[in-house]
């Protein structure tokens, strides 16, 4: 899938470049002299009616002045763009840090609330357990009471039988 997307992007990139090139190459054809030597990267100051030393593009003084001034300002433009990118990146990092801090703080508060809830639950269980323990009777006491009650009942029964015989 990634390969397909990459291919489409690559093709669209070339397509736009081809279209751009076709538009920009729409210039008048210049016939070069036979055996003309390539001057390399050269410029030629010329006055009207002078013979050009090589086939090329003639620029007006204003165009040359503008190009020169723009080229002179390139370093400052790069510095400006670099400075802007740095500030934007710093702001992006600050925002990322602040966002993470907010999220982590909230997560911490939720964990603390969970701990409090668990502590409350433990306390409730503990309280109930204590109350259950307190409500339970002592088995020794119960046995004693049962034995005592049985003895009393037996004695009363014997007494009753003795009285009835009399």
């Amino acid at each position: 899938m990634k390969n397909i997307i990459s291919t489409i992007i690559l093709l669209s990139f070339f397509h736009s470049n081809i279209a751009y090139t076709q538009e920009s190459t729409d210039l008048p054809k210049v016939e070069t002299q036979q055996g003309e030597i390539d001057p390399g990267e050269a410029i030629s100051p010329m006055k009207s009616q002078q013979k050009a030393p090589f086939t090329g593009v003639l620029l007006s003084p204003k165009a040359v002045a503008t190009i020169t001034a723009k080229l002179l300002s390139i370093v400052e433009r790069i510095k400006l763009a670099q400075s802007e990118a740095t500030e934007q990146a710093q702001e992006f990092c600050r925002n990322e840090k602040a966002t993470n801090e907010i999220r982590v703080k909230a997560d911490k508060q939720i964990l603390e609330a969970r701990i409090r809830d668990n502590e409350r639950t433990i306390e409730l269980y503990q309280k109930s357990l204590n109350e259950v323990k307190q409500s339970q009777h002592d088995p020794v006491m119960l046995i004693g009471l049962s034995a005592g009650g049985t003895a009393v009942l037996t004695a009363l029964s014997i007494l009753a039988v003795a009285q009835s015989i009399k």
Binding site: E41, I43, P45, Q50, K51, A65, A69, R77, I110, E131
Partner: protein, 114 residues
């Protein structure tokens, strides 16, 4: 007879009495509800803080963009002035103008044939 009736009533109340442990499910439920309320409050506060932070970020980003747009405009103006000065200085001297361009680009200056 009276003791039997009294014993029956006492046994009924003993069996149906409200014991402390009977409140435990409700207490746990209430505790859970309080926890849910706490979580909701925290999440609401978090959302508010995130929204505020997003606004701050947007404002700061726009401020930086605006600052540099102004700087670029200033630089464009300076470049324009420089171009104007160059043009005014060398408009009748193509050779000097070519040399200025050559300094910046490194292109060789080729003088035309007379």
């Amino acid at each position: 007879m009276f003791f039997v009736a009294f014993g029956g009533v006492a046994a009924y109340f003993f069996v149906n009495r409200k014991r402390p442990i009977d409140n435990l499910p409700d207490d746990i439920r209430n505790s859970g509800k309080q926890f849910a309320d706490d979580v909701n409050t925290v999440r609401q506060n978090e959302q508010q803080s995130q929204a505020h932070e997003a606004q701050v970020h947007k404002e700061k980003t726009e401020a930086i963009k605006k600052k540099y747009e102004a700087e670029k405009e200033k630089l464009d103006e300076e470049t324009k002035d420089k171009a104007e000065k160059l043009f005014e200085s060398y408009k009748n001297d193509p050779k000097a103008l070519s040399e200025e361009l050559s300094k910046v680009t490194g292109f060789r200056v080729v003088l035309p044939e007379d």
